[in-house]
Symmetry: C2
Subunit: 358 residues, 2 copies
C-alpha cells in the first residue's frame, strides 16, 4: 500500500491541553479559493488622532480624560463584559437542571504605548518590558481576589478589533472560564500520572526535536504546537524552569521574553508582509483562592491564534465542520515551519506596512 | 441592593450538551462599533453561470461533467478533507503521549436545487422535502459503515462559503468528532440520571415556557437555546417523540420539517433584510457500529450558527476572550425573541434580496 505521509494524508492529532483532536488535511491547500477576501487596509494610521479614545490626553465615552501617558496606560473598560458591581442571578437553576445560570465579575483596557501607529514588534526592548511588567502587576493586583485574570490582545480588523491603537484587555472573573477549567484538568491529570508538568515536558521535547520551533532563546520557546488548529498558531512557553504566573518571572526572563515576543511578532508580520492579525492571551495558574497552593501542575504560557491562511487577504474559516464536528487544518504544523519569515528587527522609526527586506 | 435583571446584568448560563458555560453580558450592545464591517454584496447571483462547478451540465475541476440535474445532486468532493483511501498514520503516539495521531476518513457535496439564485426559504415545500429525503439517504448509505456522518451547510461569504449555489456538504468519518463525543457524553449522563432524553425534556420545557421559541409546528420546535452563544443561534428539534436519526423521520415529519425550515430561514432573512449567512448541521445518534444500539440517549436535532450581531454588516467576533477563556454574548436569548421578524413566505419567483414586506 501507499506509505503514510502527513503532508499528503489526513490524520488526527491530539491536543493534550484541551483533550480534543484536530483533523489535519494537508492536501486541502491545493484547492482553489473563490471565497471572501479580507480587506487589507493599508490605510496609514495616524500617530495621534483627536477622535481616538485610547490616545493620551483624549476624552473617552464616559467623559474621562486620559492622562498624557508616556508608557503603558490602564483604565476601566467603559463597556465592561464583566461589571464589578452587578447583582448575582438567583442561585443555581430555576428548578430544572437544563436552565442553570450563575454569577460573573469585573475589566480593564491597557494601552501599550502612547502612539497609535506602533505595534509590539516595532517597540523598543525597554518599552516591551514595561508592558510585561504591567501585565504582571495586573495579575498581582486583580489576582489577589479573582481566581482568573485573563490578559488578551485582539489585533487587526479581522479579529474584531475596532481600534488600531496598540492595546490589550484584562478581564478578571469570579469563576474559572471554560478554557481554564479544561486546561487545569488536563495539566493536573498529566502531573499526577507523570510527576512532571505537561508543558515543561513538552517544551523539552520540542527543543530537542526542533521540527516546530519558530523562535528560541535561553529562557523561552515559541513553537507551532503539534496539535495547532489555526494555520500559524503558536505557543510561547518558558523552557527552563517551572513558572506558575507572569508575576514569577525574573527581570532576566522578562527581558528575554520581550525579545522573543519582538522576534516572533516580526516573523508574523513578515509572513504575508502585513501587520499580522491575531488574538493572543496568557494562561497561568489560577489566582485568588488558588494562590495558597494546589496548582503545581500549571506552567505559564501564551497562545497566539492568528486567522490568516494563504495570504494577507485569505483567512481560514472555522465554520461548518469545525463548528459542528471538529477543528480541521489545511497544512501540517511542520510545513509551516519552512514558511516562517526571517526575524530581522526593523527600526523603530520605519513606517508601518512597508514590506520587509531581509 | 439592585435587583438582578438578565437584560442588564452579566451572568453565566450552562450548556448541558457541551458542559460549557456562556457569559451573557447583555448591556454590551450599547457600546459603539468602529470595527470591521462585512461587505453586504447584493450583487445579483445569476441562475446559471457557465463557470460555476455546481451548476447542472458544467465541468468540475477534475474534468467530470455534472448531469442536467433537476432536483438535488450529490457528488464526491474534489478536494476532500477526508480522503476515503488514505493510508493510516503509524498507530498511537511516537513513544511520547504528547505527540499522538490517529486515522481519519471519507466526503460529498450535495446541491439543493439546479438554480444558483435560490435558497432553501425560497424553495417550494416539495423541493425542500427532496433535500430532507436525500439527507436521510446519505445518512443511511454512509452510516452503514461510518460511525459519524456530518451533514453541514456553510452559507454566505461571511461563513467562508465560496459558492453561492445552494449546497451542503457531508463528511463521514471513521471516528466520532470532538463535538459528537461531548454531546454523546452529556446526553448519556442525563439519560442515566433522569431516564429521559435531555433534548426531549428540553423541547417540552421550551414549548411550555414559550420564551425562546421562534417557530413551532405539531412535530418541530425552533428555539434560541437558553445557552446560545451566537446572537441568533437556534436549535431545531422534534418535540413529540424520540427520534434517533434523520432516517427515522416519517413522511409527515419530513413535510412538517420542510415548512418549519422554510419559516425559520425566512425569519432569518427578514432579521436584517439580507440572505442570512450561517453554518448549520445535523446531529443524530452515531451510526456504523452504533446502529446496533446503546444510543437511546440521543435525540435528533439541528444547530444553526449565524454570525451576524447588529446588522447585515456587523458580525459578532468570537475572538480574544472567547478563544482564550469563554464564549460571551452581548444580548440575552430572550431579548432576541422580540427581534425576530415575521415568517411571511415569499413567493418562489420573487427576486432575492428584495426587502420583505410583511
Ligand atoms: O469546503 P469549503 O466550503 O471550501 O470550505 C469551508 O468549509 C470547510 C468545512 O467547514 C472549512 O474547513 C473551510 O475553512 C471553509 O472555508
Ligand atoms: O471588547 P472589544 O474589543 O470591543 O470586542 C472584541 O473583543 C471581545 C472580547 O474578546 C469580543 O467579545 C467581541 O466580540 C470583540 O468584538
Amino acid at each position: 500500500g501507499v506509505k503514510f505521509d502527513p503532508k499528503e494524508h489526513q490524520h488526527q492529532r491530539y491536543n493534550p491541553l484541551t483533550d480534543r483532536w484536530v483533523l489535519v488535511s494537508a492536501h486541502r491547500m491545493t484547492r482553489p479559493w473563490a471565497g471572501q477576501k479580507e480587506s487589507v487596509s493599508e490605510q496609514q494610521v495616524v500617530r495621534s488622532d483627536p477622535q481616538n479614545p485610547l490616545c493620551p490626553g483624549n476624552t473617552r465615552a464616559n467623559g474621562q480624560v486620559n492622562p498624557d501617558y508616556e508608557s503603558t496606560f490602564v483604565f476601566e473598560n467603559d463597556f465592561p463584559a464583566l461589571q464589578p458591581d452587578a447583582p448575582d442571578p438567583p442561585q443555581g437553576s430555576d428548578g430544572d437542571s437544563l436552565f442553570q445560570s450563575k454569577a460573573a465579575r469585573g475589566n480593564q483596557v491597557m494601552c501599550f504605548h502612547p502612539w497609535s501607529d506602533i505595534t509590539l514588534p516595532l517597540m523598543r526592548q525597554d518599552e516591551v518590558i514595561k508592558v510585561i511588567d504591567k501585565w504582571a502587576e495586573l495579575v498581582e493586583e486583580l489576582g489577589a481576589t479573582y481566581p482568573w485574570v485573563q490578559i488578551f490582545e485582539n489585533k487587526g480588523a479581522t479579529m474584531g478589533c475596532s481600534n488600531p491603537h496598540p492595546h490589550c484587555q484584562v478581564w478578571a472573573s469570579s469563576f474559572l472560564p471554560n478554557e481554564a477549567v479544561v486546561s487545569d484538568r488536563s495539566q493536573k491529570a498529566y502531573y499526577q500520572q507523570h510527576q512532571q508538568q505537561l508543558l515543561l515536558r513538552y517544551a523539552e521535547q520540542e527543543a530537542n526535536r526542533q521540527e516546530r520551533v519558530v523562535v528560541q532563546s535561553s529562557d523561552w520557546l515559541a513553537v507551532v504546537p503539534y496539535w495547532a488548529t489555526w494555520p500559524y498558531q503558536t505557543m510561547l512557553l518558558p523552557r527552563r524552569r517551572h513558572i506558575l504566573r507572569l508575576t514569577d518571572l525574573t527581570p532576566e526572563e522578562r527581558r528575554d521574553l520581550a525579545d522573543v515576543m519582538r522576534r516572533l511578532l516580526t516573523k508574523y508580520d513578515n509572513l504575508f508582509q502585513v501587520s499580522f492579525p491575531y488574538s493572543m492571551g496568557w494562561h497561568g495558574a489560577p489566582t485568588g483562592p488558588h494562590l495558597s497552593g494546589g496548582v503545581d501542575h500549571w506552567q505559564l504560557h501564551a497562545h497566539y491564534y492568528p486567522p490568516l491562511l494563504r495570504s494577507a487577504s485569505v483567512r481560514k474559516f472555522m465554520v461548518g465542520y469545525e463548528m459542528l464536528a471538529q477543528e480541521q487544518r489545511d497544512l501540517t504544523p511542520e510545513q509551516t515551519k519552512n514558511i516562517w519569515g526571517c526575524d530581522f528587527l526593523r527600526h523603530l522609526n520605519e513606517p508601518h506596512f512597508v514590506p520587509y527586506h531581509c
